[in-house]
């Protein structure tokens, strides 16, 4: 006896949500360890290596420590805003991951302990398949600013407020470049759905958008780095000038929530870059298969490389000045992205057969 279609959908959705959120939280913990160890090796240190093998249990130790710390709140803080800000930050970070595909579609095995209706079913690890996938991510990214703004403003601390002001200016400047860098990719695929964009890049690495849309890829990567406020664009936190920026007054688990939101955003932009520009789960080399579980390997490898690049940048580059940041965003990235949209549109209009635009 198999349950009704609605129950089937609900069960599948619940399993996917549990899988994705669980994997993200696990990856967040692992990334803190990877980041600290990698940075340490880049700076001729050892990093955390006492808790467990290679210090792998350090994230758990950090979590326990943060749980037992006092949750301080400034007396003059806006209470509700102060409490809501970390929640807003984490929930927007977790909302954006709902429309991302994680790996290729695959068929469930037709044996084992699976119930009847699940056997051989073709599924994809993607929570929501909606018509406007990429735009949804853009909308949620736009809302993500409010977590930071609320955190900085409600703490009633001048450093927090300055950090929040900086970050809102930075984020809405770079959001433009981020959105514009997607337009060429969307035009080539003829769809807002990320899975369609990935499949439009099948057939070889020269069809990846990182090569076909090289300027857009560069703009995307710089804008994404600024959007998630990583070094060299981490001016909202700039500890030399602003103590810790917008989260100066946060402690204990609220601080951990804000950190979690930042790491999840970093993972989101990496997954997005792998899907939009690096061919997603396609191997890119003709002859090398990318079906089934192998697709997960290719996809995971690309995401891992991108995450490593973020850590690498942090270990290598100094922070830019504020005027440099604004000049880069408004005078370089946005014009480059706009001209590139024009070039792509002209190419697609004049030689539709060369670009083989899908979905027309």
């Amino acid at each position: 006896m198999s349950p009704s279609p609605m129950v089937q959908d609900l069960v599948l959705a619940a399993v996917k949500i549990a899988l994705v959120v669980g994997a993200l939280l696990g990856l967040f913990a692992v990334m803190t360890w990877v980041e600290r160890r990698t940075l340490a090796f880049m700076q001729y240190r050892l990093g955390p290596n006492r808790t467990g093998p290679f210090g792998l249990l350090q994230p758990i130790a950090d979590g326990i420590k943060l749980f037992f710390k006092e949750e301080a709140m400034p007396a003059a803080a806006n209470k509700w805003g102060f409490l809501a800000a970390p929640v807003v930050a984490v929930s927007t970070a977790l909302l954006a991951v709902a429309v991302l595909p994680y790996g290729p579609p695959f068929a469930l095995p037709s044996w084992g302990l699976l119930p009847e209706w699940l056997r051989g079913l073709r599924v994809q690890v993607q929570i929501a398949t909606i018509d406007v996938g990429l735009l949804f991510i853009f909308a949620i990214t736009a809302l993500g600013v409010y977590g930071i703004v609320l955190a900085g403003w409600s703490a009633n601390n001048k450093y927090s407020l300055l950090g929040a002001l900086r970050s809102s200016a930075q984020m809405f400047s770079y959001e433009l470049a981020l959105g514009l860098s997607w337009v060429g990719v969307i035009m080539l695929a003829g769809s807002f759905q990320i899975a369609d964009i990935v499949n439009a890049q099948a057939g070889g690495f020269w069809r990846w958008n990182a090569f076909v849309q090289f300027p857009a890829f560069v703009v995307y990567f710089l804008a994404a780095t600024a959007e998630v406020a990583r070094i060299p664009f981490d001016l909202p936190e700039g500890e030399a000038e602003l103590v810790a920026g917008f989260h100066t007054e946060y402690s204990s688990m609220r601080f951990a929530l804000i950190q979690m939101a930042e790491y999840i955003n970093m993972i989101t932009v990496s997954v997005l870059a792998a899907n939009l520009f690096l061919g997603g789960w396609h191997s890119g080399i003709p002859g090398l298969p990318s079906e089934g579980l192998l697709g997960f390997v290719w996809w995971g490898g690309k995401v891992a490389v991108l995450l490593f690049v973020f850590v690498w940048l942090r270990g290598t580059l100094p922070r830019v000045r504020y005027d440099q940041l604004m000049n880069l965003g408004w005078k370089v990235l946005i014009p480059v992205a706009a001209v590139w949209i024009l070039v792509t549109a002209t190419g697609v209009a004049l030689f539709p057969s060369v670009f083989a635009v899908a979905g027309r």
Partner: protein
């Protein structure tokens, strides 16, 4: 399911809209307005147009409200000492709102005797939404922007202090 979601988001939209005008702290008002816009977006989604729902969040909740907040925080606006909703003016305002609602409802009932189809136009895909905005409803769309401009001028005129 749809009905529950609709009533929940409609209630949130109305409640946060009341907060927008009843709050003395302008930044709280701005955040309440963001909540209103997001719940309106949920209603658009329930009406079968995810594209317009997403645009609502990107344009209003994302872009415009960030600018509002940015300006409010830069200017460091203090809370208003005199609440706009106090004393006799509150009662008069509520009365006026009820009368307007009554007149509108009466007109609706008089003009239209039987309810029309719930959604005559299909805006479910981005293509259809684009056609609706740039072809079918282009005059309504432009007229709405003039209306918003008039509201803006009116707000400035009301807020400006007498010289």
């Amino acid at each position: 399911m749809d009905a529950i979601l609709f009533y929940a988001s409609a209630a949130v939209a109305v409640a946060s809209a009341v907060v927008v005008i009843a709050q003395r702290n302008p930044i709280t008002s701005a955040f309440a307005l963001i909540v209103t816009l997001c719940s309106l977006s949920v209603i658009f989604g329930l009406l079968g147009s995810p594209f317009i729902a997403v645009l609502q969040v990107i344009v209003y909740a994302g872009a415009i409200m960030v600018l509002f907040l940015f300006v409010l925080m830069l200017l460091n606006v203090r809370r208003e000492e005199d609440s706009p909703l106090r004393g006799g003016r509150t009662l008069r305002g509520i009365g006026l709102a009820l009368v307007t609602l009554f007149v509108l409802q009466a007109g609706f009932v008089l003009v239209r005797t039987e309810p029309g189809p719930a959604l005559q136009f299909d805006a479910s895909t981005r293509t259809m939404a684009g056609i609706l905005f740039s072809a079918h409803f282009v005059y309504v769309f432009e007229a709405t922007s003039v209306l918003i401009l008039a509201a803006l001028v009116g707000a400035v005129a009301l807020a400006k202090k007498e010289p």
